[in-house]
Amino acid sequence: MLKQTHKFFGSRRQHAAMRGMDIAAAMAAEAMQAGVEVWLEATVLGLYQDGVLLVQQRERVVTVQVARVVIATGAGEKTLAFPNNDLPGIYGAGAVQTMLHLYGVLPGRRVLMVGAGNIGLIVSYQLLQAGVEVIAVLEAMREVGGYLVHASKIRRAGVPLLTRHTVVGALGTRFLTGVVIGRLDDSGGIVPGSERVLEVDVMCLAVGLTPAAELLWQAGCRMAYIPELGGHVPVRDGRMQTTVPGIYVAGDVAGVEEASSAMVEGRMAGLAAAWDMGFQSPQYPHLWAEAETELAALRGGPVGARIRQGLAKLAAVRAREVAAGA
């Protein structure tokens, strides 16, 4: 969220029309005001079945015994296999955003963006705002994967969208000097003779995310492979609880989706964990119903079809497991 400088979609309840970085600041302030203790620069190294978390914070390593834990570790970036894909100058989109927004460092001068999903489109726009030339956005599919409004913003700023194109290879010896791209035919091969070289010093990969679920694996949560949700996701009940009692999930780690849904899932996981610990507020049914309505609205349209399909698959997996266990 801190690296999202654009105004968010969604509805008022998810702070739509506020910029991601401002939403993050507002939510952090809200948490602090509520008395939440925040540990910064802290990494959870392990999550054990007896409810012990191993945490490293700067120079210290501590164990923490928890009654309930909500895992909201997000997602990691996928990458692409092509010759020379380890050359300096080839970045994931998250790294480019970190350089731009946290460190104020330009990754280079001329960028080729790979992937026309929302991340590729948004990061292209942010690069333009930072004064970097984006020479094209490459997309293997026939159509733009992200929101058309994001694509239109960079189109009118002069960035070409090359659909049905892919990376053939990277050029350079010590660092990236160019990228060979090619047009894809109907069977997914390169159209002979369509290869050409784009001279760039940065190639930014925005080819999708996969849940950062290592802690859930380690804790023994049952996982299911659901491509629509980004890969392996935890099997969970309707209350965001995994198959290990006391471990809840929210956001991309539970299935790669939009940030607005992640915020709502976070609220739900928090509500469920609090309820299960005995903090059974009379407001709970209302807050829960509100969150469910919001999620249904966010996922309800054509762009939510894939998520709905993935969640239906996940629910089927869980139903089978419950039946087998009973």
Binding site: F9, G10, Y147, R155, A157, A297
Partner: protein, 163 residues
């Protein structure tokens, strides 16, 4: 095609454009929002009820051009930067467009007029710029354009970032 190159075609635009009579009468908002996505800030930004509350979060905005007075609050409220105000009652016509690059153009500056595909369409003069708290860093640039380009100009260039 819109879905592959993100440039609206005449048929896409016809469906979101007010009548010639309404356009001639004065400033009016045009939402170039062609995809059903979960997003509704335009509807609650409008203080005149010209963009009624959404029944479905994924519906597209339907602007009531009789209620719309072209105030332009929706231009900077739209997270997709997809709303523009066009005023064909003036000569030259004025297009108000969302702008998030630095530096901002100054009133009186001559800028390159740019179409939806990023191509230059000519030159125009910046009339004024709204860039206050309400706009929240999505400036609204008022640019004078020849009347026949009012439905084509959707961006400007004048050097600086994002050019």
């Amino acid at each position: 095609m819109l879905s592959s190159n993100a440039v609206a075609e005449p048929a896409d635009l016809a469906a979101v454009t007010p009548s010639p009579e309404r356009l001639a009468r004065g400033p009016v908002a045009i939402a170039e929002c062609f995809q059903q996505i979960p997003c509704d800030p335009c509807s609650w930004a409008c203080r005149r009820g010209a963009i009624p509350p959404f029944v479905d979060l994924n519906q597209r905005p339907e602007i009531d051009w009789e209620l719309c007075n072209g105030c332009g609050v929706c231009v900077s409220a739209c997270p997709g930067l997809a709303i523009f105000v066009v005023d064909l009652s003036r000569d030259p016509a004025v297009v108000r467009l969302p702008y998030e690059f630095l530096p901002r153009p100054e009133a009186g500056a001559t800028v390159t007029l740019v179409g939806r595909d990023g191509c230059a369409l000519g030159e125009g003069r910046v009339q004024r710029i709204q860039d206050g708290r309400v706009q929240d860093r999505t400036a609204v640039v008022w640019v004078e354009v020849p009347a026949d380009l009012a439905m084509a100009v959707r961006h400007i260039r004048f050097g600086g970032n994002g050019q």
